[in-house]
Symmetry: D2
Subunit: 351 residues, 4 copies
C-alpha cells in the first residue's frame, strides 16, 4: 500500500522535518505541498536541505485539488489559521492531522479563553481526537481528524500521566519547569531569536501563562478523572532541537518508593515503541533526531537532612522527560498518528 500525503504549510520547520521523515517512510508518497504564500516556491529553494530529495512546487491550498492528489493531509499552519482550512479538507473526506493548536482543546470556550478568539470550527472540534498515541491509540485509529499535541504537552503528559493513574502523586501543586530549543519558536526571525541574543543566553518566558499549560491540564484531567492543575514555566535553550522538562510533584504518600514510581512507568510504557523509561537521567542528546520520549523519575528529600537522623522535611517526586520538539513533539508524532490511522505498525518509518 502506498499512502499519498499532502502537506499544508511545508515551509515551516515542522514541514521540513515532516518531509524529511516521510521521504524515508516505506509506504508514503508526498504528492502535494500547499502553501499560503503569495509567491509559491519550489520547496527545495525554500528548504535547501531538500535539494535533490524533494523538489515539489508548492501549490495553493485548494481542498479539492488536495483530495485528488492525497489520502492524508498534514496541516503545519499557525494556530487560528489552521481552522480556516481544515473544514474544507474534512469535507473532501481527507484524513487530517493538524499540527497547529486549533483542535487540541476540546472545549470551544476554553479555546477562546486561551487563544483570544472564538473557535471558527466548533463543529469539527467535537470530532477531533487528541493525537497522543500512548494514551489514545484506539481513538486515533478511528479518527478522521487528529489534533497533534503540542511539543511541551507531549513530554509533560507522558511524564506525569502514569503517576496520576496509579495515584502515586497529588493532582495539584505540580510544577513543570521546561526548556526548549529554538526551533520550537518557529522559523520567523525575531529580535529575541536573533543568533547573538540566544547564543550563550538562557531565559524563561510566559511563566504560568503559556498556552500549553491548559492543554497539559486537559489531558491529565481526562486521564485522572478529576481536576489536575499544573504550573508550567518554559525556558529558551540555546540549542536547535529538544525539550527537557523537570517536573516536581508531591507524592500521595511519603512512604512511596522510587521503585513503585518506576513500576508505574514500566507498566505504562513497556509495550510502547517510543517511550523509554530510563534509570539514568534523560538528556537532549539521547533523543534529538529520534521519535523517542525518554522519562525517568527520582524520589528525593524536599530539603537536606540536618543531621544523621535523616529527619528530612518530606519528599518530592521529580520526573524528567526529554524529547525532540520537532519529532516526538511534532512531525514524528504526526507520522505515528498517521500510521495508526492507516492500520500500519505505529513505528513504521520512524526508526
Amino acid at each position: 500500500m502506498t499512502i499519498r500525503a499532502a502537506i499544508v504549510g511545508p515551509t515551516s520547520y515542522t514541514g521540513l522535518v515532516l518531509i524529511e521523515w516521510l521521504l524515508r517512510h516505506p509506504s508514503i508518497d508526498i504528492t502535494y505541498l500547499a502553501s499560503q504564500r503569495e509567491t509559491l516556491p519550489n520547496i527545495a529553494d525554500d528548504h535547501p536541505r531538500l535539494r535533490g530529495r524533494c523538489e515539489l512546487q508548492c501549490q495553493p491550498i485548494d481542498a479539492a485539488a488536495i483530495a485528488q492528489a492525497a489520502d492524508v493531509v498534514f496541516t503545519c499552519l499557525p494556530h487560528v489559521v489552521a481552522m480556516e482550512y481544515v473544514p474544507a479538507l474534512l469535507d473532501e473526506d481527507l484524513k487530517v492531522i493538524d499540527l497547529s493548536a486549533d483542535y487540541r482543546l476540546a472545549d470551544a470556550a476554553a479555546y477562546e479563553r486561551v487563544y483570544g478568539r472564538p473557535h471558527a470550527d466548533a463543529g469539527n472540534l467535537k470530532h477531533a481526537v487528541y493525537g497522543l498515541p500512548e494514551l489514545f491509540a484506539a481513538d486515533i485509529a478511528e479518527a478522521q481528524l487528529v489534533a497533534n499535541p503540542g511539543c511541551y504537552p507531549t513530554a509533560a503528559t507522558l511524564g506525569i500521566a502514569p503517576l496520576l493513574q496509579r495515584s502515586l502523586v497529588q493532582p495539584t501543586g505540580i510544577v513543570i519547569n521546561a526548556a526548549s530549543g529554538v526551533t520550537g519558536a518557529g522559523r520567523s526571525p525575531k529580535p529575541n531569536l536573533h543568533f547573538p541574543e540566544v547564543n550563550e543566553g538562557y531565559v524563561a518566558y510566559a511563566p504560568g501563562v503559556h498556552r500549553h499549560q491548559p492543554e497539559i491540564e486537559q489531558t491529565l484531567t481526562r486521564v485522572k478523572g478529576e481536576a489536575v492543575s499544573t504550573l508550567f514555566v518554559p525556558h529558551l535553550l540555546p540549542v536547535n532541537q529538544g525539550i527537557l522538562e523537570t517536573i516536581y510533584l508531591d507524592p500521595k504518600d511519603d512512604d512511596v518508593s522510587e521503585e513503585e514510581l518506576f513500576d508505574a512507568f514500566d507498566d505504562a510504557y513497556g509495550d510502547q515503541p517510543f517511550v523509554r523509561v530510563r534509570r539514568d537521567l534523560p538528556n537532549l542528546k539521547y533523543v534529538v533526531n529520534t521519535n523517542y520520549c525518554d522519562v525517568s523519575v527520582r524520589l528525593v528529600n524536599a530539603g537536606s537532612p540536618q543531621d544523621d537522623s535523616d529527619d528530612a522535611p518530606g519528599k518530592k517526586v521529580v520526573v524528567f522527560a526529554a524529547e525532540d520538539n520537532m519529532i516526538k513533539g511534532a512531525s514524528g508524532q504526526a507520522i505515528q498518528n498517521m500510521n495508526l490511522m492507516f492500520g500500519l505498525d505505529m513505528a513504521t518509518g520512524l526508526a
Copy 2:
C-alpha cells in the same frame, strides 16, 4: 594604596577570571601566583589569554613567601585541598579569601556529612565569615578569613532571602531549578564535558543531593531564624558562563500582591551595587561578564483558570535569579569581598 594580591590555584578557570579582573583593579598588584603542580608553569602558557598581560611564573605554595609578597591571598583550590593550605596562610597574618567550599558550612559535622570527610581545620572554621556582601558586609569587613560563596548559592540566596525576611513566603517546600554553564564544572576534561556531549545537549545532575543545597539552606536558615528547607536540582547548560535559577515558593498568604514581592527586593537591594531588581525576566545575556546578580519575581496561579471566574488552585511565587557563575558566583564576588576587607568601596574595579 596598592594592595598586593597572591593567588593560590591560578590555573583554574576561577583563577583566570580573578587575574583578568584584578588586572583592571586600580588598587591591586598581583605579586605571587602559587600552584600545587609539580611543573610550575608561566601563567601565560597555561592561560594563553594572559599573554602580554600577566606573565608571572607560578611558585610553590609557600605561606611564608606569600606573606612576604602579598597582603591578601585568594585560594582557588578544590575543596578538601584548600583547608590543607589555609591554616598556614592565616598564621602568616594574611587576609584569606577562599573560593573553595571548605569554610562555607559553619558546622564541622555538616561539612563531614556533605563532603564525606572530617574537616581538617575546625579551629579556623569558627572564624570564617560567609562572603555574601549583600547580607554580611559588616562581618566581612572585619574578617581575616572569608569563605566565598558557591556559585549556585549566591543566586539562590539573593533570590530568596528578602522574601523570607519579610515573611512573604513559606520557609519549606522551596524548589530551586537551576541551570549553569560548563565553566562551573571546572577545567579538567571529562567524558560528560567533552564538547560533542554538551553542545546541543541539556541534562539535570545530582537532583536533591548537590552539595550546594545545604549551603543554601544554612544561609537562609540564618537569615530567617528558623529552619528553611529547599530542593535544589541543577542542570548543565550548553554555554560557557552563567547561571539562571527558577525558584518556586509558596506564598505565606494567597492575598500577597506581586508589588509586595518586588518591594521586598527593592528595599533589600536598593543600595546594593551588584543586585539589580528587574521588571523583565533575567537572562544570562544581561549578566555574563559582569558582577551583577539580576532578580525578578512573578506571582502566578498554580494552575490554569478553568473558566472566567478565575477559580484557580492557589498561587505560586516564582523567582528568577541570574548571574555569571565565574564573576558574581566566584571571582568577582571575591574581589567585592576584598574591597570590603580593605575598606575600599565595594564596587572598586568591578565596573
Copy 3:
C-alpha cells in the same frame, strides 16, 4: 536478502552513527559488535541513544566468531590498531570496510612517512580499494577490502577532481582551507576539546602537516595522471558535525567561465545520488545528518578592480564543498560502499 553486519569498534562516534543508520537499512541485520575494551559493555550503556534500539552486548574481537555471525565487517578502530585486526578478518573471507586510515595510502612507504611507523599488513594493502564511490564504484563493487576515505579527503576530492579532469585548473598551488565539527576529533576527552575551550572558539591546527593532505594528493594525482599538490589547513569549528572546505585554485586559463566550471561538476555528478552541485553556497546546515556532499564554485578576481576598467589582477577559482563528517565523511559512505559490494542500489538505506 539480509546482510549480516558486524562492527569492530562500535563505541566510537563513527560506530554510533553507523549503528543508527544500519538500523534503518532495509537489508541489514547488525549481528555482532566487537570491542577492544577490557570490560565489554552493552552498547546501549555506552551510547545511551541506542537504548531500546540496539542493545547488543559487545564481544571480543574474534575473527572466527565474527565470520560465523556476519557477512561484512566495519572496522571503526584508530589507525595503526585497525591493521592489527584486518588480516584475520580477511582470512575469514569476510568483506571488510575499514574506516581507519590504515589502508588508504596505497604505498607502504608513504604510510610510514605519514603515520610514523611501518605498515603491518603491506600484503593486503595492495588489494585495498579506496572507497570513494563517485570515482571508484566499479573497483569497490569487486573489492573484499575497502579503505573508507577520510572525512576531509572526501569533500576535498569531490570538490577538486572534476576541475582537474577537465584541465580547468592548475594541479599545483591548490589551497584547501577546511573547517570541521568536533566529532571529527573523536570521543576521547582532551583539554583542547573540553566544552569551554571549544565553544565560542575557533582555531587552526596542523597547518600543512595534517595526515589527510597526502591522502588528498594521492587520489587527485591518480585521477589527474600527474602530480597534484595541495596545501591543507584544517580548523576546529564549534559545532558537533559537518565539514566545509573552501578551496582556492588557479584557473588553467583566465578566460575560463564560471559556467564551464559548473559544467564539469554537473557532468561528473549528474548521475551521482549523493553529490549535489549547488548554485548557492554550501552550508553545513544543508548536509548535516545526510549522506550528501554539496559542491559549488565561483570564478572571482584575485583582487579588487581599481577602477571601472576592471583591470583586475587575474582570476581565482574558489570551490566550496560541504558534508557531514560523520555521514558522507565516514559511516554513511561506508554504507554506500557496502551497498556497492553487495550489489545493492548505492543509495539503499541512505535516504
Copy 4:
C-alpha cells in the same frame, strides 16, 4: 582630565560595547546618546545589560546639542547614513570617530564603486585619518576625524603589513580566508541570522566581492608603496564574537625562514600594546572580550613531500590573525584612537 563623550547610534552592538568599555575608562564621562529612532529609548531598556550602569535617555542627533555636551563623538551608524551627520558634527569642532565605512576609502570614486552611491561628504573625506593605531598613530593624534577601520581589515592588515614592508612576501596572489562571529552582521534580525539557521551551521558569503576587500588593499598598498591585491572570502561562524583570518601568501623567496617572518612581526609590534605575536596558533578564545589582535605565522610546503628527499612543490606563508570583531575590530579600537587624539596613553581603559 575628564573627556566628555557622545555616542550617535548607541542602540547597535558596537554602541553597546562602546558604552560598556567607556564606563570603565578612568577619564571618560558619557554625556550624550543620540539616536535616529522615532521613539527615543532609555538606553537601558534597549540594552538590558546596561540597567543600573548607564540609564541615559537617547536624544535626537542634534550637532549643536552634542557639541554643548561633549568633546568627542563616536558615530555608530550604518554606512551611507553616517556621512549625513558627520559634517555637522565636524562643523561644531567636535572630534569625531566614525565606526561606519563612510570615511575609510580615501578616494570618493572608490567609495562610489564599492558602496554603490556617490560620497556625500567628499570634502571631509580628504581630512579623515584611517584609524589603525599600529600604523598611523601620529596622524591619528592630530586628526579631527578618524575613520575607524572595518573589523576584517584590522586583522588582515595587521597580519600582512609587516611581511610586505620587509618584502618577505609577494604583493599579489594573497588569499584571506576569514571567519567572523555573528555580531559582525549587526543587530537586526534576518532570516539567515535566525538562531536555528546559524547554530551548528557554517557558510561563506560574498566571496571576492565583500566591501572590506578594497579597504584592505588600500591600506596595504599605502604601506607597501605599490599595488597590493587580495582575494577576501569571509565566512559566518556560529559564535557571537571574534574573527580569525587564515591568510595565504607566496614568499618572495623560498629560502625565507620562519624566524625571519616572526622577526618582521616582532619588530613591527614589539612596542605595540595590543598586537601579540604568538608562537602558538591564535584562537578566538584568547582574544574575545579583549582589545588584542593576535598574530602568528607558519612557513609550510605547498604540497606534501613525495619521499624522504623532501622535494616539495614550493613554499607558502600562512598567517593567522585573531581579534574580537567588536573590540579591536570596532569599539575598542575606537577608544584606542580616542586616547591618541586626546594625548592619553593608547592603552588607557583598555586593560
